[in-house]
Amino acid sequence: MKKPWYEYMWIISVLYLILGFFNILFAWLGMFCFIIPLLISIIKGNKSYCNKYCGRGQMLTWLGKKIGISRKKPMPRWMTKKWFRYGFLAFFMIMFAQMIFVTFLVFKDVRGLSETVKLLWTFKIPWSFAYKVTGLPLWISQFAFGFYSVMLTSTILGIITNILFKPRSWCIYCPMGTMTQLICEIKDKS
């Protein structure tokens, strides 16, 4: 049986991560991973993004099941609890807001452009090799560095939990997944 087109979305996820090493502005494309699932849940009231289209989920499945980099052990109970999922979502949002604030400071000329990618909200990695002077406003590049940091950090976390626990353990605490499920619940109630 021929695989449906959306089963190849993992290629886009891998490509996205690679492109960030060549030109940081490609990081902006990651906005689709935020906007599309939200729109689907708001308009359609379902999680078909997670269920079918999520390239990251497919990439993690592939890493865990095909390549076999996974212990395939159940994750700790507390990680599957609502408080942990909402807690991680809140933490993620705060970090995201901080990234937007830095972008704003660069926009206001209070701060200069930081050509770094911050991994796990802690480690600043020099990333000027992927920065090309374009003449575009600096905040556009600052946002790209910040957004790519978010995407790379969450990929790393996803791979770590993939190795430690079952493939796609990331889905349990994925902020987008938690948010879209919450939207579906609210939508169903009203």
Partner: protein
């Protein structure tokens, strides 16, 4: 007669849909983006979904069925 079926803890389900993908009988669906639902009439209790579920909240239970 006893039948083996998959049971899941709804309140811990994140509706990721990995169980739907592995089910050989198409017995699982995601209900309104909220949680996975097992159609017990289709379920054969093969436990593929239980193995797949990243939250490990699916268990195989034996159910008495009146023939």
């Amino acid at each position: 007669m006893a039948k083996r079926v998959a049971k899941l803890q709804k309140d811990l389900c994140v509706a990721c849909g990995t169980c739907v993908k592995v089910c050989p009988k198409n017995a699982i669906s995601i209900y309104k983006g909220k949680y996975a639902q097992v159609d017990e009439s289709k379920c054969i209790g093969c436990s593929l979904c239980a193995k797949e579920c990243p939250a490990s909240i699916i268990t195989i239970k034996t159910k008495e069925v009146v023939a």
